[in-house]
Symmetry: C2
Subunit: 529 residues, 2 copies
C-alpha cells in the first residue's frame, strides 16, 4: 500500500500479478453489426453540382495512375467487388456510411495533383482519406465522392537525428513513425489510441490531440511544414524543416484541422522531441471528482517538467474496460474515479523521487485512496491499455454516442451526471440495469487539457435517445464558453452545430477561406463549414 | 574552476565579484543620431489610392474618440507639435521613418472598430502600432498613414490561476504581464530583450520568438484565442480560453505573424506555464563553433526537460557588450564563443545535480574551457543582461545591419565568417581596426531553434557596404533552405526578398489572404506581401 511509503522513497507496491500480457488494443476495427446503425444520422442531400462518375472518368484516371492503384466497381466501368470498398465507405464505428464507387490510391504528390486538377475541372467531389479512424464522419464519403486514399504514400523522406525533424509522406502510419523515431532516440509529439491505423496526414488534417498534448503541445506548434495539394492541382510547397520562420502568413496552420476541406496534405514536417530515458506510470484510485482536480494541481506542482500525461476515467468506464479487455484492476478495490499519471524525464532517480513524493503526499492528504506504480515496461503498457481500451470496450457494450468537449476543468464532469439524470427522468436509463435502452453513461479524458469524452452507450442509435442530449450537450457547452469539439473535429457530425462554439463572423470567414482555396467545393463536401 | 568539480557535486565557482548591480537594459530607445540613417532604405512610392488626411477626417475621429486620445499636427487641423509624433514615426533603431500627422490611441475594441470602418470606407491607410520595438520597419508608417496605437488598451481582462490562462488587452506591456503572472506563480511563455516596451499584441502580430521558445514553443501553440478587428470594422471574437478546440479552421493562426496587415489584434488569450521553483544559469567559454553544437547535444541529453534556454554569442559580440554595458566577463579569460544555459525545474537539488553533472562532463571532454554558475538571482540577471545587452551594445558601436536567419545548425555560423571575408576582400573591413567603414561582424542567437542573429556594424548605412551582403545573405540562406526571417518578421525591410524563403504559389496565396481580409489594402500598406 502506498500509505506506508516514506518520504522520498519510491513506493514498491507492484501492480496485481494476475495481469495478463499487454494486448494491443484493437484499432480501426468495426465491432458492431451494421444493423445497429442503419440510417441513424441525418444525411444531407447529394449536391447536383457534382458530376456523377462514369467509365470515361475512370479511363482518364487510368492514364494518370498505375492500374493497381484504382479500385472501381462495375457501376463506373470497373471490375472490383463493391464489398472491397466497404472499408473506405464506412468509418470504424460503422456509424457513417457513403456510397463511393471508386477509390484512388496515388503513389506520389504529382499523381495527387493530377487527380485533383481533373476533379476540379470536372466538378467531381473528392473525400481525402487517411487511416479512416475519425469519429465525426469526416473521412468517409457521404454519397458517391471519389475516395482519395493516401495509403500508398508512406515513405519517410528525411530524418535529422540531431534536430529530431522528420519529413514524411502523409500516408505514414503513426505507430510506424513512432517506432522509426524511437530507434533514433526520439518520440512523436502525439499519441492516440488509433495509432496503429491512423496516418500522420490525417492526424494533421484533423489536428489530432491525444495523450501527449499536455507535454508537447498541439500540432499547431510541432508541425513545421506541410506539402499540400490544392483542389486545382497547385502544390503548396511549405515543407519547411525550420523551427522558426516568420516570412509571411503561416498558411500551413489553415490546413491543420481543416479536415481535408481546403487541400490534401501529402507531406508533413514535424519536430520529434527526444525520448525520455525514464518513464514512470501510476494508476490511482480517487474518491471524487474534486479530488481528481486537487491531485492534478499537486501533480503539476511536484512533477511539473516531467509530467507527460494526466488522464482520468470514471467507474463506469472502468467497468466496461474490465469486462471487455483482458486486463485486471491494478488496485485492490473499486473507486469512483481513476487517474493515470505518466512522468518522462532524463534521470530515473529524480523522477522516482518526484513521483514517489507526490504519491505519498496525495495519500496522506486523502486525495488519493490507493495507487499502483508500474514496475516495468509491460506493466506500463497494460496501464495504458486500460485507458486506451475504453473506447473499444464501450463499442463492445453497445452503440456509443461520443461527445468530445472542452470545458473549464471545475465543471468538466458535471455534464456526465446531468445527462444521466435526464435519461433517468425520461425512463431511458437506470444505472446498473440492462433493461433500458441506455446501458451506460460515462466520462473520461484529458484533465490537463480540459477535455472530456462524454460517452453514452445504448442498445442502438435512435431518435428518442438522441433527443435527450442533442442539442442539450451543445447548449450546455456553449453556456460555459466551451468547445463542442475539443479534438475530434467537426466532420459531418457537428457541421450544423458549429454555431455553438464559433461566432457568426468567424463562421462567415471560414466559409470565405473555403471559397478561396476550393472555389468549386469539390473537397470533402458536406463537412465542416 | 569547474575542472575541479566532482561528479554530481554542484560547482561552486562564483561569478566575478566585481560585477556591478544588474542594470536594466535599455529597451525601445534610439541610440544613434538621425544623420546616420538618412534616406538609407528604399522607400516605396506613396500609393495614390489612399486618401490624404484632412481636418474633416480629424473632426470625424473626434466624434468617435475622446479628444485626449488624438494627437494631430496642424497639417491635418490639429494642434500637436510634429515633434511629439517622432516616437511614433520612427522605429527604435531610427532606421525607418514615416511622416504620419496623426496618432489615434483608442481605449476600447469598439473605438478601434469605428476607426477602421471609417478608414476602410474612406481609403485611409493605417499602421497599427504596439511598443514599436520591431526591427524590420513593420510598426512605423512609411508615408502619412494614420498611426493606430494600442497603448491605451492595457488591461488584464481575466486570469485563471489554476489553468494559468490569461486574457488581456493587446496593449499590455510584456514585462508588466510577466510581473502580473509571476505574482500568481506563472511565467509568460515568451521573453525577449524588448520586454520593457513591447506589447503582447505586437508580440502576437509579429509571432515574436525570443529566449523561451526552446522550452515553451511558439505563439502558434501558446496563444489560445484572439480578438481581432478587421479593416471593415468587423470584430472577430475568438478570444477562447480553451486549450483544445477543433471547431473549424483555426483563423487566429493567420493573425499570428501577420504584422498588422490583416487585422488589428485588440485582445489576446494566452496560456502561461507554471513558474519553476528552481532556476539555474551558467555561462560557458567554448573554444569553437563545433563545440557549441556538441555542448548543445549533450545539454539536451542531460538536462532535457529542465533546459529552458541555450543561447550563444561570439567573441565580437562579447567585446561590444563589455565595452558598452556595465558588466564584467564572469569567466577568467576570453573565448571564441560563449554559451548561456538556463535550467528551470521543480526541484532545486535535482536541477543542481543535472547541471553540475553536465558541466563537469563538458569540461572533462574539453568541449567547454571554463564556466561560471550564477549563485543568486542578481547574478542570474547579470548573465542574462550580457546576452540581452548585445543588440543595444552593437547599436552604440555604430549603424547595425541586422539579419535574423534560420539555417540548419551545422552551418549556422559559417555565414558570419563568410560575410567578414567578403567585406575584407572589398577593403571595407579589417578585424580589430577602426579605420574601415565596417567596425564589427558578429553572430549570436538561439542555437536550439537554429536561429542566428548576424549583425554587421558600420560607421553608417551606405550602399557600398550594403551591396556586399544584400542580396548575398538571402541567397545564402535560400541555398540552405533556411528562412530570411526567423523571428523578426518581414515588415518593410524584407518584403522584396520574400521569394528567397517562400515559393511563388505560397506568396500568391498570401496575397489572396490579404485581399480576403483587407480588400482595400488599408492596413499597414507597403509591408509583408
Amino acid at each position: 500500500m502506498l500509505a506506508s511509503v516514506r518520504a522520498r522513497i519510491i513506493p514498491t507496491r507492484k501492480a496485481s500479478a494476475g495481469w495478463t500480457a499487454a494486448t494491443k488494443p484493437l484499432r480501426g476495427q468495426a465491432v458492431l453489426p451494421l444493423s445497429v446503425f442503419a440510417s441513424f444520422y441525418h444525411k444531407p442531400a447529394r449536391s447536383e453540382a457534382f458530376k456523377r462518375l462514369s467509365a470515361e472518368d475512370v479511363n482518364y484516371f487510368k492514364t494518370i495512375l498505375p492500374s493497381e492503384t484504382i479500385l472501381a466497381t462495375p457501376a463506373v466501368g470497373g471490375t472490383a467487388d463493391p464489398a472491397e470498398l466497404d472499408a473506405f465507405n464506412a468509418d470504424w464505428l460503422n456509424k457513417y456510411r457513403g456510397n463511393s464507387q471508386i477509390v484512388l490510391r496515388p503513389k506520389s504528390t504529382e499523381q495527387v495533383a493530377a487527380i485533383l486538377k481533373y476533379c476540379s475541372d470536372n466538378r467531381v467531389a473528392v473525400v481525402p482519406q487517411g487511416g479512416n479512424t475519425g469519429l465525426v464522419g469526416g473521412s468517409v464519403p457521404v454519397h458517391d465522392e471519389v475516395v482519395l486514399s493516401l495509403r500508398n504514400m508512406s515513405k519517410v523522406r528525411s530524418y535529422d537525428e540531431i534536430s529530431g525533424i522528420l519529413v514524411c509522406d502523409a500516408g505514414c502510419v503513426l505507430e510506424e513513425l513512432e517506432n522509426y523515431v524511437a530507434e533514433r532516440g526520439h518520440v512523436m509529439p502525439l499519441d492516440l489510441g488509433a495509432k496503429g491505423s491512423c496516418h500522420i496526414g490525417g492526424n494533421v488534417a484533423t489536428n489530432a490531440g491525444g495523450i501527449k498534448l499536455l507535454r508537447y503541445g498541439s500540432l499547431h506548434g510541432s508541425v513545421l511544414g506541410l506539402e499540400v495539394v490544392l483542389p486545382d492541382g497547385t502544390v503548396l510547397d511549405n515543407l519547411s524543416t525550420l523551427r522558426k520562420d516568420n516570412t509571411g502568413y503561416d498558411l500551413k496552420q489553415l490546413f491543420i484541422g481543416s479536415e481535408g476541406t481546403l487541400g490534401v496534405i501529402t507531406g508533413v514536417s514535424v519536430v520529434t522531441p527526444r525520448r525520455s530515458e525514464a518513464v514512470n506510470v501510476a494508476v490511482l484510485g480517487v474518491p471524487d471528482y474534486s479530488s481528481v482536480q486537487r491531485a492534478f494541481k499537486l501533480t503539476r506542482q511536484r512533477c511539473g517538467e516531467v509530467l507527460s500525461a494526466y488522464e482520468f476515467w470514471d467507474a463506469s468506464s472502468m467497468s466496461a474496460v474490465l469486462k471487455h479487455q483482458d486486463l485486471r484492476n491494478p488496485l485492490s478495490s473499486e473507486y469512483p474515479f481513476y487517474v493515470l499519471i505518466e512522468t518522462s524525464g532524463s534521470n530515473k532517480d529524480h523522477d522516482d523521487e518526484k513521483l514517489g513524493g507526490l504519491l505519498e503526499e496525495l495519500m496522506e492528504e486523502g486525495v488519493v485512496k490507493d495507487g499502483a506504480l508500474a514496475q516495468d515496461d509491460s506493466q506500463i503498457a497494460r496501464m495504458w491499455s486500460m485507458r486506451e481500451g475504453i473506447p473499444e470496450s464501450l463499442s463492445k457494450t453497445g452503440a456509443t454516442y461520443k461527445y468530445d468537449i472542452s470545458i473549464p476543468i471545475p465543471v468538466l464532469y458535471d455534464i456526465v451526471g446531468d445527462i444521466a439524470q435526464r435519461l433517468e427522468k425520461a425512463n431511458l436509463y437506470k444505472p446498473g440495469s440492462t433493461s433500458y435502452p441506455v446501458r451506460l453513461v460515462c466520462g473520461y479524458g484529458h484533465i490537463g487539457d480540459g477535455n472530456l469524452h462524454l460517452n453514452v452507450v445504448a442498445e442502438r442509435f435512435e431518435d428518442k435517445v438522441t433527443k435527450i442530449f442533442e442539442p442539450y450537450v451543445y447548449e450546455w457547452v456553449s453556456s460555459h464558453r466551451g468547445s463542442i469539439s475539443a479534438e475530434h473535429g467537426v466532420g459531418l457530425m457537428k457541421r450544423d452545430y458549429l454555431g455553438y462554439s464559433k461566432s457568426p463572423s468567424m463562421i462567415e470567414y471560414m466559409k470565405r477561406i473555403k471559397d478561396l482555396f476550393d472555389p468549386n467545393h469539390i473537397l470533402n463536401p458536406y463537412k465542416v463549414v
